[in-house]
């Protein structure tokens, strides 16, 4: 009896420590920055410049991910060909490669002395490429799953009803995969917004040009801890909004997708 009570106490204590550890840093940010000061910091040029750079590069990078990643995912999901498994692994590789390695790789590819001899490094384009590189696997992987989940009979039915491959894609496949695609894109957006390592190596941290919000946190950290906290708070709020959107998308009835996120709240 006592042993069982002790065991239960240990389990609860363990759970409490884990949850407290995960929540504490986030709570601390808001504990140190009252809402009034947070609002005031939003007019700090360091913050506004970084916000503009972050939003601009994120939007462009995500647009690129959608435009190029969607057809890539569809081909990988709907065709069976030699080397397909290899390509899928290639798409997933940036997920496990450390961001610093991604940055070095991008420099080696696009640098002045790199494979392609471009002048991209340390420009805003470099930020876009870094974000696209690290974030796209999250979208493409999810999009492959979403496309594979579309019943091939529905695609066949569409064709026998007189629709060509293009009409079939836009009227049947895309609407049915929409929930999964949006969820993958939400993940990719969140990952891209927090991008740090590859960006600082490949694009540097130039205010107004390549200094995104995470880089601004790092830059402000030496100078004014409160500003760093304010930017941190801003990023937490944006990330929370994305996470809630993701949960809503994955729990909506039209979607059959499950993530490593608990939706049973």
């Amino acid at each position: 009896m006592i042993r069982r009570a002790l065991l239960a106490a240990l389990v609860f204590a363990g759970a409490f420590v884990a949850l407290a550890f995960l929540a504490l840093p986030l709570i601390a940010i808001f504990a140190r920055v009252p809402p009034g000061r947070l609002a005031a910091q939003l007019s700090n040029p360091l913050v506004t410049n970084a916000l503009v750079v972050s939003l601009k590069t994120s939007v462009i990078a995500q647009a690129l991910i959608l435009v190029f990643g969607t057809p890539a995912a569809y081909v990988l999901a709907s065709r069976r060909f030699l080397g397909r498994a290899f390509l899928v692994t290639l798409v997933e590789l940036p997920l496990v490669v450390p961001p610093a390695v991604a940055g070095i790789g991008l420099l080696a590819a696009f640098g002045r002395f790199g494979l392609l001899h471009t002048s991209v490094p340390f420009t805003q384009t470099a930020v876009v490429l870094a974000v696209a590189f690290v974030a796209s696997p999250l979208y493409v992987r999810q999009a492959i799953v979403a496309f594979e989940a579309v019943d091939p009979n529905l695609v066949a039915a569409s064709r026998t009803l007189g629709a060509g491959p293009v009409k079939t894609f836009f009227r049947v496949v895309l609407p049915l995969a929409r929930g999964g695609l949006a969820a993958g894109e939400a993940l990719a957006f969140a990952r891209g917004l927090g991008e740090f390592g590859a960006t600082i190596m490949f694009a540097g941290s130039l205010p107004k040009v390549t200094q995104t919000l995470p880089l601004a946190v790092y830059a402000a950290f030496d100078v004014d801890f409160d500003v760093a906290l304010a930017i941190g708070a801003l990023l937490v709020l944006v990330s929370l909004a994305l996470l809630l959107t993701l949960k809503w998308l994955t729990s909506s009835s039209t979607s059959r997708f499950r993530f490593a996120l608990s939706t049973s709240s």
């Binding site: 039915a157 064709r159 026998t160 009803l161 049947v172």
Partner: protein, 332 residues
């Protein structure tokens, strides 16, 4: 009216599907699952490309054309309705809706999603959608398989009327011989990718080509060894009994007797024109006003009233009797 002509070879995983078939009115392909029935429809619709031969409609060659350029109305086994579209949008996807919603009694369901419909309603939507395209050929994959027994008989009647009214060349596949016989003018028995026999339902029953066709059309099949005996053929069954047939035969044969040709007696009647098998009464199943009774190795189908008169009870002993003229022999 133009014919749909299929003549092709399609390699499948376990065997090659090889078929030559002309569809003018309604043809049903029946066979066990895995016989390649659905693949025939997929080739006709352009969803699978055969390795040899192909499909023509009238004087148009359809071989090599993508599905959207063949005017087929394909009703899928699970109906394949678009779950994200309303009933009306599903039908409109293929072409002008016109009076199709009224004709198929789905006008009140126009704004419903397929997920909210019953099996019978889904089938009507699938048919309406297939017809919205104005097809020249109808392809139906197990059109009744997704329905429960109660809905099925009603839907079968409606579908039979519809097919007659449309007058389109129709190819349907089913695993149920009764559905095939009820819906089609010609029934083809497909086994392991080959057409065993193609004939009218009456002809299939009267002259089954082989043991599989016979048992598939619902006959009793008894194995035995035949040798001529005067005008008749005598068959010694594997169980030891002797039966006679007017069909010629020699060596290993299958004895084919349809349940409605078997009578039941409680006492042995000595009549040389009759085959008599003694056996224990197994299952007794009522189907409408008829009763199917299992006696030893044979199933008999008799009217409910005669079954009641005989006072049949499972576990008792009865005699199954059938005429030598109603006993067919097929090679094994």
């Amino acid at each position: 009216m133009a014919h749909l002509l299929l003549d092709f070879t399609l390699p499948l995983r376990a065997f090659d599907l090889e078929l030559s078939l002309s569809v003018e009115r309604t043809v049903a392909l029946v066979g066990p699952s895995g016989a390649g029935k659905t693949s025939v429809l997929r080739v006709a619709a352009g969803l699978a490309e055969p390795s040899r031969g192909g499909v023509t409609f009238g004087d148009e060659v359809w071989t090599g054309l993508p599905p959207e350029r063949r005017r087929v109305g394909f009703v899928f086994q699970d109906y394949a309705l678009f779950p994200h579209l309303s009933v009306r949008a599903n039908v409109a996807y293929a072409g002008p809706v016109g009076d199709l919603l009224d004709r198929f009694h789905i006008a009140e369901l126009a704004d419903a999603r397929p997920g909210e419909l019953s099996g019978g309603e889904r089938q009507r939507v699938a048919l309406a959608r297939a017809l919205a395209r104005g097809p020249d050929v109808l392809l139906l994959d197990e059109p009744l398989a997704a329905l429960d027994a109660h809905t099925k008989s009603q839907v079968r009647g409606e579908l039979s009327e519809l097919l007659r009214g449309l007058g389109l060349p129709t190819l349907l596949v089913t695993h149920d011989y009764e559905d095939a016989a009820a819906l089609a003018d010609e029934v083809g028995v497909l086994v392991d990718g080959r057409l065993r026999q193609l004939a009218s339902p009456a002809e299939l029953v009267a002259r089954p080509a082989d043991a599989f066709v016979a048992s598939f059309t619902g006959a009793n099949l008894l194995r035995g060894t035949a040798h001529p005996s005067g005008e008749l053929t005598e068959v010694r069954l594997d169980g030891g009994e002797r039966v006679f047939s007017t069909d010629p035969g020699k060596g290993a044969v299958g004895v084919v007797v349809y349940p409605w040709e078997v009578s039941i007696a409680r006492a042995h009647e000595d009549d040389s024109a009759l085959n008599v098998l003694r056996g224990e009464i197994g299952s007794i199943v009522e189907i409408g006003n008829r009763v199917r009774v299992r006696i030893g190795p044979v199933t008999a189908e008799v009217t409910s009233s005669s079954a009641a008169r005989l006072g049949l009870a499972s576990g008792g002993v009865a005699y199954a009797t059938f005429k030598a003229t109603g006993t067919r022999l097929v090679p094994l």
